[in-house]
Structures are given as C-alpha cells and as structure tokens.
C-alpha cells in the first residue's frame, strides 16, 4: 500500500456505511446511516466530498441510476466499495488491530 493512502476517520465511517447499506447507498442513506449510528451531525457536503476523494483513489465506484418511474422521480447516484476499497479498509482495521493487540485499551485509557 503506497504511503499517504491511509484512510481518514471519516472515510472509514463512509466506507463502513456503504458496507452496511449494500446496494441502497446514496447521499441520503449514507448520511443518515452515519448520523444515526455515531450521533454526530453529518453534513451532506462532507459526505459527497469524502465519496469523491474515495472515488478518485479507486476505493468506491459511483453509478447513476435511471430516474424512478414515478411522477417527479429522480436519478440517484449510488455508491459501492471496490475491491481496492475493501482492501484499504481491511488494511486500516488490521493496523488498528495490531496497535491494540495485547493491550487492554479501555482499561489503559481509563487509568490515564
């Protein structure tokens, strides 16, 4: 993995949201998923900015759907994780696991 391609915290949250949402991941659902689970206010602009970055790195693939066949129906931009994206997320989790391996993290933190 080339240097500088580490995933930021928010990028990890976005990738995990995509993982949870499977084929239902677009702006609204991703935003609501992260906000609902982390209880932090997430701006739609930040979600799209992050997704664009991930797309440029090749971690995420965007497809635009056909407009829904109802009056006023809209086209949506759906996102899914690519193989490389999955590897990067795995890698990030693996590094986190290695750093915490053999460490009672919570207890250590509480002791500070």
């Amino acid at each position: 993995m080339p240097k500088g391609d580490y995933l930021g915290e928010f990028e990890q949250l976005v990738l995990l949201a995509l993982l949870r949402l499977k084929d239902r991941a677009y702006g609204v659902t991703v935003r609501r998923e992260i906000q609902g689970r982390t209880d932090r206010n997430v701006a739609i602009g930040a979600v799209y900015a992050s997704l664009e970055r991930l797309e440029r790195k090749g971690y995420v693939l965007a497809t635009v759907s056909q407009p829904e066949p109802v009056p006023g129906g809209r086209a949506k931009k759906y996102f899914r994780i690519t193989r490389t994206g999955a590897d990067a997320l795995k890698h990030a989790r693996e590094m986190m696991r290695r750093m915490t391996d053999g460490l009672a993290v919570d207890a250590e933190l509480d002791a500070i």
Partner: protein, 890 residues
C-alpha cells in the same frame, strides 16, 4: 387549486439556502446534493416535525456543507465557477482570488475585521428584519394600499378617532361613491359547547362583504353569501384555518356541519387560508346581524363598529376625503346624533403599525450608530494595514503597476471582507431573530411574519458593499497623504503622516460622540423605566390571581340569577385552603377594559350644568378592595349592600379631591348612571387612586358600586392566594363546574402578569437600546485603545529620542494621553450636542423625565470620559516605559 398550491409550497425547502448550496456545490454533485437534501427535508416533514424545524435542519445542512464544497472548488486543476466564465468576469475572479490569497496570510486581521463588521451588520440586519415585516412589507391582502379604516371624529367632544355607529356605517356604505367595498366588524366571544370542555372562543362579527373587501378567498366552502346577516341572524360561521385543523382535523367535510355557539346552532360555510392574517385574532367569523331597532335614531350615538373601506380604482384618498366631508354635513343636518361629527380616513397600514413606527425607527437608529462605530474601528485597522503595505505598493509601482490597479486591489480586498462580514451577519441574524421576536411585546402586529428572507439578506449585502466602498475611500485618502509626506523622510522612518493621525483622531472623536448619544438615550429610558416601576399602581399585585368569566345571557337573563351565582361562587372560593381573600370586579386594572358612565353631584347644580361629568365605572363585590390591597377610608361594601339595601357608592381619591376639596365626601349623595339608568346613591367610602389605564396615565375619576346592586354578566374574580397558578386554576374550574356544568372559565393569570405585560414594550426597547449602547461603548473603547496603541507603536523612535533628551515618564504619559483625550473631549461635546437635538424625538417615550435631563447628560459624559481615559491610559503607560536605548537601537 389554491389549496394544493399551498400544500406544495409548504414542502419546499428554504429558497435562499437552496440557492446558496446550488451556487457553491461542485457541478458533478450539485443535482444529487439538492435532490438528497429535498428528499430528506420531505422525510423530516413526514416524520411529523413542523416546517420551522425542517427549515432549520436544511439551513444547518447547507451551512455545514459550505466548507467542504468550497474546498473542493478550490482544488488544483479544476475550473473555478465555470458558470461565471462566460460572463466576462474572469478578471474580477482573478482579483478576488488575489485578494483572498493576500488575506489568507493575515488571519488575525481578517478575523478582527470580519467579526467587527459582522457585529454591526448583524444587529442592523436583525432589526431591519423586524422593521421589514412590521413596517415595510405590504399587508397580505389584495392591493393593500387601497384599504382604509373609517372613523367618526368629533374633536370638540374630545374624540379624534371614534368607532362608527351601525346606522352611520349603513349610510356610508350606501352613499360613498369613492369606495368599491365597505365593511364593518366588531369583536365577540362565543361560548362553544359540544367540543371537549366548554370554552370561550374569540370571534369577529363582520358584514358579509369583508372577505371580498380584503380579497381573501376561502380554501373550503363558499363563505358568507352576500345577503347573509344584515337583518336577522343567519346562523352561519366561517372558521379560521387553525380552528378547522384543531377541531375538524382539516377535513373538508366540515363544511355544512354545525357548531353550538352560545347555545345556538351555526352551520360552517367556509374555512380561511392558513396564512390569513387579521389585526384582531379570531377563530370564528359570523355575519353581522341586526334588527331594525338597532338602526333607530337613538342608536346613532352608539359607536361600536370598526369600519374598513377599499378605494375604487382611480379614486384618490383626497377625493374620498372630500366626499366624506359632504356626507358628514348631510348626516349632521339630518340626524341630531351625527351633528358635529365628521369622518376620518386613515390607511389600514398606518392604523396598524403607526404606534410601533417610532419604536422601530429608534431601534434602527441605534443599530445604525453601532454599525458606524464598527466601521470606524475597521477603518483604523484598514489604515494600519495600508501603512504596512506601503512598501509593497512602492515595489509594485516601480514594476509598472498603475495607481488604479493598486486601488482596485484594495477595493476588492475590502469588499471581500465586507461580504464575508455580511455572510456571518446574515447567519447570525438568522439565529438571533427568533429570540428577538420572542422578547418583543406581543402587541406589535405581524411579528410572526418576521424572517431573514431574500429582501433582508439583500439589504445586508448592499449595506456591506457600501461599507467596503467607504473603507477603501477613507483608507486611500489617508494613505495618499502618508505617502506624500513619506517622500520627504529618510527611508525607513517609522512615523505616519499628519493626515493619518488627523483621520485617526477624527475616528476617536466620532466613536465617542456616537456611543455617547446611544448611552444618553439608554440612560434616559432607564430612568424613565425605573420611575414607572416605582409608580404606586394603587393596588398590591403580588400574590393575587385573576380569573375572568362571563355568564351566557340566555341562562342568566335575570339579575337575581346573576347575583346568586356570584354570591355562591365567591363564598365557595373563599373556603378554598389556598385562598386568603376573594373579590370580583367588572373591570380589572390594566386589563384594557373600561366602562364610563355619566354622574352628577346632588345639590350642586353648577357642576352638572357646566359640563357633562363622566367617571370610570366599576361594579365590585365586598371583598374586592381588601383582596386587591386598595386603601380605603370609610366603609367597604358589605353583603347587605344588595338590591334590598340602600343604594351606595364608593368614590376614589381624585374624585374626592376635585369635588370635596375641603369636606369629607362620605355621606354625600351622587346620581350615577348604570345599567338601569340614573340612580341616586350615598357615598360610603373613599378608596385610593388606581392606575387603571396603565402606570403612566394619570388617575381618573372613578366610582365603584356594589356588584349585588348592579350585576353585570361578566366579572373577573380576584383571589389573594398562598399557592401557585395551576392549583388554583384547577380548583376554580372545579368550583365553576359544581355551580354550572356548562360554564367556561376564561383566562386565569396572576395580577402581576398584567402589570408586567403593560411594562413589556418599555422593557423591550430599554433592553435593546441598552444592549446596543453598551456594545457601542465597548467597541468605542476597543477602537480608542487600538488607535492609541497604533500611534504609540509608530512613535517608538520619537519617544525614545524625547526620553534620551530628558523627558520624564510623566511627560510622555501626559503627551500620549493628551493626544487622545483632546479628540475624546471634542467627541463628548459633539455627542452631547447631537444627543440634545435627537432626544427630543424620545419625549413621547419618556415618563417624568426631560429629554435633556442635565443629570443624565452629565453623568453619561463623565462615564464616557472615564472610559476613554482608561482606554488610552494602557498604551500611554506602555509608551512612558519605553527604554530609550532599546528604542533608538531598533
């Protein structure tokens, strides 16, 4: 159709926010982001949160999304604002970009300037938002500037604006050719039964044409048929949107259903739109019905209708006025009760907001001053920055930059700062406006329409552009004189041109003067408020609860029924544990209702002959004075003062002073007009003056008669209590239900609320002007500190030389302080003079204090001087301690 349109707009996100995000979002995601936001906005509404919350959520999303959107725009290699490139704006964008890059290197400067401007602009924007909704926005009717209010007027009888009698209204409607519509209305309260608890509902009784006069369509049903009401009642009712939602769930089948009002059936014939606004709040509208005996000659003297008229197209107000003069002449000669009365026409808008124009103008003036002070501070910063950048300018000029090029860069930079300041200000005003409205006295009309909308934002933006322009011009002027002067100096000299200093001293003087004017205004208002607060209202409001109720005429037609009901109610209420004493009156102080009847003093022909005497009239129960804490001489009413007992009366101090200046009125007799006409009564007591019409009004002549001798169908029960509102409300409600199952209890509130409500507008204006004045003082102080610090920093060399040549600390201190205190004193003198000119406009808002009160003027001037001295002492002290060796070495 109309209905569906309304529903459609209700689900649209805020336009301004939508435009904002559409402007900054990167084009690849713009469409998706907008649709995502719209989808979630709809979800939030569907989850049952109200429109306001949903809009707030939308705004929050947009604001939080701005940074990431802007960052992506500025990313390398991406065309910036491609939609602008076609407009030939590329050079401008390059300038903006250049300015932004230069500013980015001075974050401290940017933050100070932006925050100072945002404070000034934000205050202006918030107050303008209120003024815009209340004063400037047209009323929500069809062609609202054609709408007039019509009054009867008779200055000789002391009545400049009187309501209109029914018969006169009919004459106006029939013969006035200048009007396309004329309608009359009056307030009413219905007892609504059959829907939940029995309750009182505010209603308006109006002639059927009122909705077509206003140009307001029904959203359901057809409204009043043109001939409804008039002679005889039709038993039909139009519902407000809110009433319809509450009791019929917004069901269009409500049309044709019946409501039980005052025990009569009323058929629902229409529903008003949600956004329908009327000066008097009402949930129900019924047609004005009248019988022939209400339009007899004698009834022309009973003036109780509010009359609205719409000017015919092409007819001017002047034409209408002259037509009304002719009509008044004609009516005056035909009907004795119209003799001496003329008509007065006033635009509906003036009638509604006239009282608040002065208050809002005052506040706008105050925030204008705050903005000026903010600008003065920023000018100082901009000038300092211009001086710093003189070298940069010289190099660029040497390389071939023209003067206009340099000026343009400065202009763009300052405009950019001002616009960023405006953006912060609009955002702040957006959040400030809700608490501001909550604080404002509820009597101000159309407060619910206050919003920071496109107009208000445009106002703020144009104000900020003007500010940016002024900053550039002032800074440029001082810079130019600096550079002229600098040519004469050895390179590297660290002094500033004289004009620069002169402009700075002018700034100090101006800031001091402006803040002084505001502080004097606030000081006068504070004293006026304190004086009012100390006025003895004549009663002790603490610990007294009030509850109004009115008896339906049908079931309590006879006096005996009313008397026995009141007797039972008061007797039972007195038994409650929490109640110390209890009483009842027809007219509570400061509640806005009065009755006024004629009286004459027996055995004094002179008094009755000269003038028609009239006094405020109250019917009260025996315990009333004790409960209210009104001081009494002689005896109070007792239970034997009833219809079997001798007729008695209690008068107030003012009356006793005026008619019995040397003798005791107790035992004298007066004839008082009441429900049954004139009746001779013996005075048994004298009570203290009560300020019924408000703390600022002089006590009037007042008479009190026993409720048992003159039982009106409405009273307010007062109870001195040891417990809180809720408990007593519930106990009173139980009491009432035990006496009469179908009787609604009116408003229950502590007597202190009435006094507080009366003081609310004064408290509001005092609070705002006070806050603005303090902000102004603080900013002026910071401004002075900044200016003097700057001047001192530029004079380090010079002061070093002075000290090396023998100047003592004291000399330097005196020199620097003197340099600052002269403009400050000039500012105080100027400010005092300006205040003396301006506070005249405050006179009508002040109570028992002169608008040029010398004590206030002196005290505030001294305060400002003291603050100025503190503000310049700190940098002066620093200057005095400059080490000459180090100063010269630098």
């Amino acid at each position: 159709m109309k209905q569906s349109e309304e529903r459609a707009t209700a689900h649209l996100p805020p336009r301004l926010a939508r435009a904002l995000i559409a402007a900054v979002a990167p084009s690849r995601d713009r469409q998706f982001m907008l649709e995502d936001l719209a989808e979630e906005f709809a979800i939030i509404l569907a989850e049952g949160r109200d429109r306001r919350q949903a809009r707030r959520w939308y705004w929050r999303q947009v604001i939080a999304s701005l940074p990431s959107c802007l960052r992506r725009r500025n990313a390398v290699g991406r065309p910036r604002f491609p939609w602008l490139s076609g407009l030939g704006l590329t050079p401008l964008l390059r300038d903006v970009n250049f300015a932004a890059r230069r500013l980015r290197s001075r974050p401290g400067y940017v933050a100070t300037v932006v925050l100072t401007l945002a404070l000034g602009l934000g205050a202006c924007t918030a107050i303008f938002g209120v003024a815009h909704a209340v004063l400037l926005r047209p009323l929500p009717y069809h062609l609202p500037d054609r709408l007039l209010t019509v009054w009867e007027s008779n200055p000789e009888k002391g009545s400049s604006q009187s309501l209109v009698s029914l018969a006169t209204f009919l004459d106006v409607r029939q013969s006035a050719g200048a009007f396309s519509h004329v309608a009359a209305y009056g307030g009413n309260t219905f007892e609504l039964t059959g829907l939940g608890y029995p309750q009182h509902v505010a209603a308006i009784v109006a002639t059927p044409g009122i909705f077509s006069l206003l140009g307001v369509p029904m959203i359901a049903g057809s409204g009043f048929p043109p001939a409804a009401g008039e002679v005889g009642g039709d038993g039909i009712v139009v519902l407000s949107y809110q009433f319809w939602r509450r009791w019929f769930g917004g069901d269009s089948n409500a049309i044709g259903r019946t409501l039980k009002l005052d025990n009569r059936d009323y058929r629902v014939v229409g529903v008003l739109p949600e956004r329908f606004w009327f000066p008097e709040t009402a949930e129900l509208w019924t047609p004005l019905a009248f019988s022939p005996d209400q339009i007899t000659e004698g009834m022309r003297g009973a003036r109780y209708l509010q009359v609205l008229a719409r000017l015919k197209p092409g007819v001017s107000l002047e034409q209408a006025r002259s037509e009304m003069v002719a009509l008044a002449d004609h009516l005056g000669s035909a009907h004795p009760n119209n003799a001496g009365w003329s008509f007065q026409l006033q635009s509906l808008h003036d009638h509604l907001v006239g009282d608040y124009r002065q208050l809002l103008m005052l506040l706008l003036g105050a925030v204008g001053f705050v903005l000026c002070i903010a600008c003065a501070n920023v000018v100082n910063l901009v000038m300092a920055r211009a001086t710093e950048r003189r070298r940069e300018g010289q190099i660029r000029t040497a390389l071939g930059a023209t003067n206009s090029r340099l000026l343009r860069d400065n202009l763009v930079e300052n405009l950019l700062l001002a616009l960023v300041g405006a953006t912060v200000a609009i955002t702040a005003a957006f959040w400030m406006v809700t608490p501001l409205v909550r604080l404002a006295p509820t009597a101000i009309p159309r407060l619910d329409e206050v919003a920071i909308d496109g107009w208000v934002a445009a106002f703020c933006l144009s104000l900020s552009l003007a500010v940016g322009l002024v900053l550039t011009v002032v800074a440029r002027l001082s810079e130019k004189s600096d550079s002229d002067y600098a040519i004469l100096q050895v390179s590297g000299a660290r002094t500033v041109g004289h004009t620069g200093h002169r402009v700075r001293r002018l700034l100090i003087g101006g800031e001091v003067a402006l803040s002084l004017v505001l502080l004097i205004g606030a000081g006068l208002m504070l004293q006026s408020f304190l004086r009012l607060h100390d006025v003895d209202p004549g009663f002790r409001p603490a610990g007294v609860m009030t509850a109004s109720l009115s008896l339906p005429r049908a079931r309590y037609a006879s006096k005996e029924a009313r008397v026995s009901f009141f007797r039972d109610l008061l007797a039972q209420t007195e038994l409650l544990d929490a109640v110390v004493s209890v009483g009842a009156t027809t007219n509570l102080p400061m509640a806005g209702s009065t009755m006024r009847f004629g009286f004459s003093i027996e055995g004094r022909a002179d008094a009755t002959l000269e003038e028609q005497l009239a006094a405020e009239y109250h019917a009260t129960s025996p315990g009333y004075f004790r409960t209210m804490g009104i001081a009494l001489r002689g005896r109070s009413f007792v239970s034997s003062d009833n219809s079997d007992g001798a007729p008695v009366v209690i008068v107030n101090q003012s009356m006793a002073r005026r008619f019995w200046p040397t003798t005791d009125p107790v035992g004298a007799r007066i004839t008082v007009v009441s429900q049954d006409g004139p009746m001779s009564r013996e005075i048994v007591g004298v009570v203290a003056d009560v300020r019924h019409a408000g703390l600022a009004s002089e006590p009037r002549l007042e008479v009190y008669v026993p409720l048992a001798q003159d039982p009106w169908p409405f009273v307010t029960v007062v109870a001195r209590t040891t417990q809180g509102e809720t408990l007593l409300t519930n106990q009173l409600r139980d009491q009432l239900l035990s006496l009469d199952q179908a009787l609604p209890l009116g408003r229950v509130q502590p007597l202190e609320h009435l006094v507080a409500t009366w003081l609310a507008p004064l408290r509001f204006q005092l609070l705002l002007v006070g806050v603005f004045a303090l902000v102004a003082l603080l900013m002026a102080m910071l401004g002075m500190y900044g200016v003097i610090s700057y001047i001192v920093s530029r004079r380090v060399n010079e002061i070093g030389i002075r000290k090396a040549l023998g100047a003592r600390q004291r000399d330097v201190l005196g020199n620097v302080v003197g340099q600052a205190i002269v403009p400050a004193v000039t500012g105080v003198v100027l400010g005092t003079a300006t205040a003396a000119m301006l506070t005249g406009g405050l006179a009508s808002l002040l109570y028992e204090i002169s608008p040029i009160d010398p004590a206030t003027f002196t005290a505030i001037s001294l305060l400002v001087l003291a603050v100025a001295a503190v503000a310049c002492f700190v940098p002066a002290w620093r200057a005095a301690r400059i080490d000459p060796i180090r100063a010269l070495r630098e």
